[in-house]
Symmetry: C2
Subunit: 696 residues, 2 copies
């Protein structure tokens, strides 16, 4: 094929200065890219996007690229509300020229070239990528560049050379504990594409459900899912949808534990006597597959074969985590087998099982992925370890030649703030000390959305926007790690993700509306004020603190189910307090802003109480509301004390700290986020020091 004139043109401008990405972020606050590209050079001027915008595709051609470009243009039209035709232009003078070098692999592979070059000038834009994967990433970057400007919609002039830091950038969704409907899966794939994630890890079986149709063993989903499962046709559609977005789909069938739902239809697989029912509670349970039963391997051979034909990806996840061994201990037949075969303990028994299953997976042409536990002596070197244990575990595996992906630190269900996930680096700790060759074994990471406390209504809000911070960690250079920049860009991408159909922002008012019932605007605002400042309890305390044993049938309609896992309002208040204290309590404008918020909190409870009388779901948070009022009063008193210019009395301090101590306790499974910041104000008011030194 003859070289296009515009490629010649580009040849002349492939000279750029490699800027430190954090410098770029600081220099260009208007560039709200997430993840930040590997290399970016700002140009001058900007490219107008109006109804004359066109694009053209050149180089390698395939239907997927046409669909990607059409999707891109629909999205661009939605972002700008400018009517644009989604058909490619015929001529070579299109606003955006897209050139793709060659096809990517028929089955997307780990480490395929995902790079692209995007050059935007005032007169046009060029996107060049070796493969469709890079083309699709570049289109997403272009979309993020387009914003309203003083002259209308435009993309700033910029030259970007981009490629991912890690080849495996995944999101796991647990569709098994709570069934997650297809449209929710699809919109999350759209979200993944927007932040350049490339692996959808689909957790399909659990104690609580076997969620995919098996034509060979229809009792698996037929009796193990309450009718809530994906048909094979639906799964194939999801796989095609994902491939269209440069995303691999890795299925997980968790064995030999986490498998009660299998046994409802197939009790003969289990190590216990049965009969079994679908598990409704959360936790680690006794039922486990019987590793000593040859019928198990016969069924798994067929089942893995069936599933391997549905999922084209080279990788196949067999779980392998959290077997408590109780059914094995209690089964004399299994004990006898272990003795006969010299299997010393349950770990060895699981290793034996894993070895057998791995051989079946290999037989069906796939590579095994498993949680840390599958790494036992003798397993083949090509398996991939997904680590819930952490970087040390990954490093140990890498030293032995095993590839690994990090999930420790990326569990979205634990309710960590985005900044904490963002700080977790797959190459830190022991992994940071690996040799360059060993480091190659660390493929990346996966965020995990475990589904005890999520359903179709709130799951988006548990994934987004925080998942975008993890996506950046896995794509952008290691040096990109300024949380303030990340949070600013996160706000922006969060709003944009809604255009893709994600509901992580819109769900909130609807859930609060259900909680409030008929209410005046003032009452509803009071509920919102409280809800904006609380977060669900963290890590694994949700079940321990529950008012009653939670099950899969528990309605998720409480405030703890409704509020986002990270309180923006709480974080912003904390930043304001820190700014104020850093100003040595000088800054009157900051003090006024603090006062306005604290007064509102103090007065909020009076507005909310009538609603608490009418709604059980509001009543649950009535004590939390009183705590917020008390916090508001304590904060105001602290500001008053600071204004007086004399350290407050110790007795006053003790009283305030007692209030704050109350506020710090979880109530209704909710944490009151501003409590530590109000404590800082109280301590500043009583400590003297900088505040008063400056004032006096």
């Amino acid at each position: 094929m003859a070289q296009k004139p515009w490629l010649n043109g580009l040849g002349m401008i492939i000279v750029w200065i490699v800027l430190h990405p954090t410098m770029i972020a600081a220099q260009q606050p208007a560039l709200s890219l997430i993840p930040i590209p590997a290399n970016l050079q700002a140009g001058s001027g900007s490219l107008r996007v109006d109804s004359s915008f066109t694009f053209a595709l050149a180089g390698h051609s395939e239907p997927r690229l046409g669909r990607a470009a059409e999707r891109f243009l629909r999205q661009l039209a939605l972002q700008t509300s400018i009517p644009l035709s989604p058909k490619p232009a015929k001529n070579s003078n299109a606003t955006l020229m897209i050139h793709t070098g060659h096809a990517s692999r028929e089955i997307q592979e780990v480490g395929e070239d995902e790079s692209y070059v995007l050059e935007v000038s005032a007169t046009g834009a060029k996107l060049i990528a070796p493969t469709p994967l890079g083309t699709m990433h570049g289109l997403q970057t272009f979309l993020q560049l387009v914003n309203v400007s003083p002259d209308g919609f435009a993309a700033p002039a910029v030259t970007i050379h981009d490629q991912p830091r890690f080849p495996w950038r995944g999101l796991m969704i647990d569709s098994a504990r709570h069934f997650i409907p297809l449209d929710v899966i699809r919109r999350n794939l759209d979200g993944m594409e927007a932040v350049k994630m490339n692996v959808f890890h689909w957790h399909l079986s659990e104690n609580q459900g076997f969620r995919i149709e098996s034509k060979k063993f229809p009792k698996l989903h037929g009796l193990g899912s309450d009718g809530l499962y994906y048909t094979q046709e639906e799964v194939r559609d999801v796989i095609a949808y994902a491939r269209d977005r440069g995303i691999r789909v890795v299925p997980e069938f968790d064995m030999p534990g986490h498998s009660t739902a299998w046994f409802v239809g197939h009790p003969e697989l289990a190590s216990g006597k049965g009969p079994y029912e679908i598990e409704r509670r959360w936790g680690i349970f006794d039922p486990a597959i019987d590793p000593t039963n040859e019928k198990v391997y016969k069924l798994l051979d067929d089942l893995i074969g069936e599933m391997a034909r549905i999922f084209p990806d080279h990788f196949f996840h067999i779980g392998g985590d959290e077997v408590n061994g109780k059914e094995w201990d209690a089964n004399p037949k299994i004990q006898a087998y272990m003795k006969d075969h010299g299997i010393k303990n349950n770990d060895a028994l699981q290793a034996y099982f894993s070895g057998r299953v791995q051989k079946l997976v290999v037989k069906h042409g796939k590579i095994v992925v498993g949680w840390d536990e599958v790494l036992v002596p003798g397993v083949p070197k090509d398996i991939v370890i997904q680590s819930w244990r952490g970087q040390a575990s990954l490093a140990l595996a890498a030293k032995q030649g095993f590839r690994g992906i990090l999930s420790n630190g990326y569990y979205l269900d634990l309710g960590w703030p985005a900044g904490r996930h963002y700080a977790v680096d797959p190459m830190s700790g022991d992994a940071g000390n690996l040799s360059p060759e060993e480091k190659q074994h660390i493929l990346g990471g996966e965020s995990c959305m475990w589904a005890e406390y999520v359903n179709a209504e709130n799951v988006d809000s548990r994934i987004w926007p925080r998942n975008a911070a993890i996506a950046e960690r896995l794509w952008s250079p290691q040096e990109v790690r300024d949380p303030a920049s990340m949070y600013a860009r996160l706000d922006f991408i969060s709003a944009r993700l809604e255009w893709l159909g994600l509901t992580h922002k819109t769900y909130y008012r609807r859930m609060l509306q259900r909680i409030a019932g008929p209410s005046s605007p003032e009452e509803f605002a009071a509920l919102r004020t409280l809800a904006d400042l609380v977060e669900p309890v963290k890590d694994y305390t949700r079940e321990q603190t529950a008012p009653a044993q939670p099950t899969s049938a528990t309605p998720m309609n409480r405030v703890v189910d409704a509020v986002p896992l990270e309180s923006d309002a709480g974080r912003h208040f904390g930043e304001l307090v820190d700014q104020y204290l850093a100003s040595s309590c000088h800054d009157a404008a900051l003090a006024d802003r603090l006062r306005a918020q604290l007064s509102r909190w103090r007065d909020n409870d009076a507005q909310l109480q009538p609603l608490a009388q009418r709604s059980l779901l509001v009543k649950e948070v009535a004590a939390r509301s009183q705590d917020l009022s008390a916090l508001g009063a304590a904060g105001l008193a602290a500001l008053d004390a600071i204004a007086k210019g004399q350290p407050a009395l110790d007795s006053w301090k003790s009283e305030q700290l007692a209030v704050i101590e109350q506020a710090k306790k979880p109530k209704a499974q909710l944490l009151l986020i501003p409590a530590p910041s109000v404590q800082k104000l109280v301590e500043a008011a009583s400590a003297g020091g900088a505040c008063f030194a400056a004032k006096l």
Copy 2:
């Protein structure tokens, strides 16, 4: 069929007190029903709705009822977030017993029995209706009754005997000026069901587009729609979807004017020479069908026949409005024909055309509906007049024996507040003076969503929640007319409508986000504060005040496209001012609340200006923002003057009124809603009178 025991039970309680509906609304603020039922008697206690909730269907059975009940239960589960099985219970002890008397007509008819009786007690609920139409209405009422209570979700004990005041309660959507996608149509049908509307009038052809596939004349949609049309299969799906919700679908093909798009593919139908292009502008245009051309009637015979087979409804709308006659005047052949046939003028020519078309409609088994213009001497008595002219026109028609429906006063695109639509009654004015027999001819009304300035993104917000006020006007007794009650219930139904997938609330932040571009939380809040207090210019001034000639290709991304047509914040501020003035300016708490709002407005512009520098779309409203700040300052000064206890100087008053005069002018096609209320404050501050008399 043997009478069910629970029917005997109900027979014993069919004794109730007819309460005046407005009394009920006042007594029971927690009952947020819309439309208010014809008769309602409050009971004691309430029926708990928890995971044990079941329903059973008895009496007449048909698949549509099963689907309605399943949909009801899905909706109930969504409202409460309580997992409920959508399968009917087998036993007769279900929480909700539903009894339907007999089938409704195969093709839903005007005036069919839509009544139902709903009795809710602490131990169970019974819904009895003669037809599935009543059953479906009763299910919606039950859904509106269920709210969170002090004990969890519950429906209050109540006995409701309900039926509509008017048999024709419609919503017209113009899918022709801007194409409205199918999913938007479907969710609006869901909204109609929720408020018991029963006619979807589908405006399918216009100068700007012919939006339905014709297999007989494929050039009509093929060349007349830019590819944006509904296939016949899609239309049949919509009709089935509507029938499932008790909604008739009446198609409209507007003739002989409003038909430019027809002529792109069929110039031979036109009165001018052509060639024709799809019209992109808005307004009344010259092209009109040639009434003197026999080929026209040949094509219309076939086309009406084709469409009559697709739309089962008995009624068929032929438009007939706004022909300017210019093409007729300019065509010598037409003029000669008129002379030859004794047709005196264009009105007579249109009457001739209407007569011919009506005969074709009748030939294909349908009854004609048309706008006022079709009512000319000699038309058959069974036609229905849809009146954009008003009640006098309807009354005149009724006296001649014609049936009519009112749309004057229900044009949603004119931007009226809900309260103004709500006050329009089909039986007021001349219609109120009709004899009882004549009154029977007034079938009801239709709200109209004309689509010059709406698209898929904002159309829901132009229909809802205001359309619910019109729905109540057409369903509830004439005495139900307290706007305060209506507004309180409208807030509530508005939140609930979002559960049906309507986007009339969620679209707003997304559109503002596009307008703002990357922005700090403070900047975005400032944009929101301003946007919350403005409304688009009203009535037919939108086009006159446009910065450039608007067309169907004009991006709808400006603030005027984004803000709701009625400002809740503006209305609430006005109510607060009225309360404050009614308290003789005594009420310090009210004064504080006014001060808080006015201060925020005064300071808002400083927050917004940086964004105006970066975004063209914000810049457009920069002057409007300055006006809001000035209003805030004027209002604060008025409160200060009132606090001083002496009438303000005339010079001060003149200054303030000049500021308010500026604020009252439309800018950026936006009205600043609080201006008249701030003027009241200024006038109170300078007039002396009650404010100062009370203070002194």
